[in-house]
């Protein structure tokens, strides 16, 4: 046995004790902010979902905020979320056939390095977006050619009529980059040769009111005011977006004054928040969560039109909104969300259990069991597991059993791609302000996302109506066509919106100019303190 030298042991104990005292001393010193604090910076707590900061590859909610702040689009969107306003372009016009659009750039527009924004930059930015075939490339898929007769004129020719093109140009992903700088950093329009993405993760080359200062994945996104901005300069010298995954933690940070804005406050977290220097408001959003029925999926053979209709009628929509977001949401009649063209006057969905049972009886369906694999997500404050449990309860009342199977989204994607999933749940947020995006995604058009996943027949009616909408120049007439499309998609009973959650805008009371933008999520340059 070890019987150590007592003197040596004492020295060791003293040394360890001293180290402990030093550590404790360090750990018990009183708090305070760091000496490098930037008091006027705007701080935002947000669960960031950044996939890239390359303007041709970025595609996420946080990316919309970033892109809007750093890379300007030709056309902006007014606060009413409807009116298009000049940004880099002073004027624009389309031909009657909606196949050619001409933009005139503002000669005053400059990039952050002082070089003017020219038509060549627009051409390169959009051709790169199209060429790289990244997530947002579909927005420019109809572009056939881009001509630049002079430095201020951009003439775009489309491969087909597209009345939604101006709305697509307004999408934040169509921001313009400084082509000379980008090319010098390895940017090309060919995915095989393009090498610029890593550079864009640490630098920016836009003309917006902010520039990228620093990005640390999983920690923070730091933007610096573009002091040589050609338009009205932003109010904040710096904007720091802090990674904060949890809504409760976001609330705590906001209430403690550690941040100025909390961006993903859930209904539960928002309760009792108003006051003490914090203002919380809720506004209707264009985001929604939906149930999807796939008759062509393996195990979905019994999802006939009548059975799908019965499922739609069996759902307690108000109960779903109560269960998931505590009533802070709206019922959404069609896959085109409330407020978009074509949704005015649509009948709200309502529960009718008796009729649902009757339809099932007509089809001779009893004790139907369906696989309901869904991604285990919590999006816009809606917990998918809670929502699916409520759907399961509602359907149980009409004799349909759902086998709930929450999985990671990568597993879900694999399954829906291979065999399809009879009943599932997913979400959608708009990329721009035109209703066509919903038809292209949810409509049963050839090769559309849900025509492929649901494995249904192609709807010629919807195909023709969308072609008609794209060719229609008059906004009122186009809205009428979209309404027909919305009604047609409702009648398909493939996509059943279940919750259109409100958005909680939570900020310190001295933050002004906070509003929800359909194109851009949050427009940082509109914010001020006062």
């Amino acid at each position: 046995m070890w019987l150590g030298n007592r003197k040596g042991a004492t020295r060791r104990v003293v040394a360890v004790g001293l180290a402990g005292v030093l550590l404790l001393g360090a750990c018990s010193s009183s708090g305070g902010s760091s000496s490098g604090s930037t008091d006027k910076a705007l701080l935002i707590a947000r669960s960031m979902d950044i996939n890239s900061l390359d303007p041709s590859r970025a595609y996420c909610d946080t990316c919309q905020i970033y892109m809007t702040a750093v890379y300007e689009t030709l056309i902006g969107l007014a606060k009413d979320n409807t009116t298009l306003v000049p940004r880099l372009a002073t004027k624009w016009e389309g031909n009657a056939a909606q196949t050619e659009f001409t933009f005139t750039l503002n000669p005053k527009a400059k990039f952050s390095d002082g070089t003017p924004v020219t038509s060549a930059d627009v051409k390169f930015s959009w051709e790169r977006l199209q060429g790289l075939q990244a997530s947002s490339s579909y927005l420019v898929s109809t572009i056939k050619s881009i001509d630049t007769p002079d430095a201020q004129t951009v003439k775009v020719t489309l491969s087909q009529a597209n009345s939604a093109f101006l709305a697509q140009v307004n999408a934040s992903y169509l921001g313009i980059m400084n082509s000379k700088v980008a090319i010098a950093q390895g940017a090309t329009i060919d995915p095989k040769t393009d090498k610029a993405e890593p550079w864009f993760l640490a630098n920016s080359a836009g003309s917006g009111p902010f520039t990228l200062e620093k990005y640390q994945s999983g920690a923070e996104l730091r933007l610096k005011r573009n002091d040589s901005y050609w338009g009205t300069k932003a109010n904040f010298p710096e904007v720091v977006m802090k990674q904060t995954a949890d809504a409760v933690t976001q609330r705590q940070q906001l209430e403690a004054g550690s941040v100025d804005i909390a961006m993903q406050i859930s209904n539960d977290a928002a309760k009792g928040m108003n006051g003490n220097g914090v203002v919380v408001s809720q506004v209707p959003s264009f985001n929604f969560v939906y149930l999807a029925l796939s008759p062509g999926a393996k195990g979905g053979e019994k999802l006939t039109p009548k059975v799908r209709q019965a499922i739609r009628l069996a759902l307690d929509y108000k109960g779903l909104i109560d269960a998931t977001v505590g009533g802070a949401g709206q019922v959404q009649p069609s896959p085109i969300p409330n407020g978009f063209a074509g949704t005015a006057g649509l009948a709200a969905p309502a529960q009718d259990v008796a009729k649902a049972k009757s339809l099932l009886a007509e089809e001779g369906v009893t004790d139907l069991t369906l696989d309901a694999t869904f991604p285990s997500l919590n999006v816009y404050g809606v917990d998918f597991t809670t929502a699916m449990q409520k759907v399961q309860t509602d359907l149980k009342a009409v004799g349909i059993t759902l086998q709930l199977n929450p999985v990671e989204i990568s597993v879900w994607a694999d399954k829906i791609g291979k065999d399809g999933i009879p009943v599932t749940m997913l979400y959608f947020a708009p990329d721009h302000t035109d209703s066509s995006q919903y038809v292209q995604y949810f409509g049963l058009l050839k090769g559309s996302q849900w025509q492929t996943w649901a494995r249904t027949d192609v709807s010629q009616t919807q195909t023709d109506l969308l072609t008609k909408a794209f060719a229609e120049q008059d906004a009122t007439k186009r809205a009428d066509v979209y309404k027909q499309l919305a009604e047609s998609m409702v009648a398909d009973d493939v996509i059943i919106p279940v919750v259109n959650p409100n958005l909680f805008l939570a900020a310190r009371s001295d933050i002004k100019g906070l509003y929800y933008s359909a194109c851009c999520n949050l427009i940082i340059s509109d914010l001020s303190r006062g």
Binding site: G32, L43, S217, G218, A245, D246, V411, D414, G447
Partner: protein, 326 residues
Amino acid sequence: MPFLLFGIASVVFLVSRMTPGDPLVTIVGERNLNNPDIVAAAKAKWGLDQSVLQQYFAFMKNLVKGNLGTSFTTRQPVMHDLWQRLPATLELTMCALVGGVSVGIVLGVLAARHRNKFIDHIARFFALIGSSLPAFWAGLLLLYVFYARFGWLPGPGRIDPRGIAPNRVTGFYTVDSLLQGDFGLFKDSVMHLILPATVLGWGVVGIVSRLVRASLLDEFSIDYVRVARAMGLRERTVVNTHALRNALLPTITIVAFTFAFLLTGAVLTETVFSWPGVGSYAVDASRNLDYPAIIGVTLLGGTAFLLTNLFSDIAYAFADPRIRLS
């Protein structure tokens, strides 16, 4: 060790490829999964259009050069990501471990010396709570009490949200802030460590205190302790100088493996405290089926286990002369 890591990399590569799941959803988003042009471009860019065997050889070729590939999620080289995040986790883990082991040893000694008495019960209860409380719950609770309710300690993050991180030398904010002579930032970074280190360290307290208690009780029944007591040595000397040193031997192993585990397993604490470490990176990687990141984190974890195993052997030899002599 290189062969072992090579084996780990091979197994993880194969297992990740066999896992049912589609990593493309992370790369292109679920909205574009049926867009053949976008999917084809993404597959080509990330090498997913090649056979698993081709991918394996390409991966191994890069691995030999020290290149772990590029993360699907962060779009940065995995080595860069780990290099960025490892110091944050190391700083938190070391603080939690030092605190947890210190408190655990004290509690274990007290519990053993006062076996089945009030102090023993209190110490064991404290340890039990530390072992059984879910980290996310304990984290939220401590944040509510000490940050949101009373404002005694700062909230999530490594430093004040308005603060600017010190220039990187070691990546440890406490060290780097001192190196640049910013004592305010040093104090801020230390304060930010307290709550997450407490949550993480509390679990360590539970493990260490129970182990020390049990080992000490075993030592108390051995002859050399009786001899020491019979020689008239003070009880404190008998325990602290003689019995404790022998009782700590099994603790070395546990502490070493706990350290290695915490390097990649502190995810809940890191999430609640918005701590940009390796744990949250590992979870994001596995959730998104981010193959390069998964392999990178696994290799890091494997290396940590191998190194801590080596260190624990060295520490054993240092602590126990019988091992040195043999």
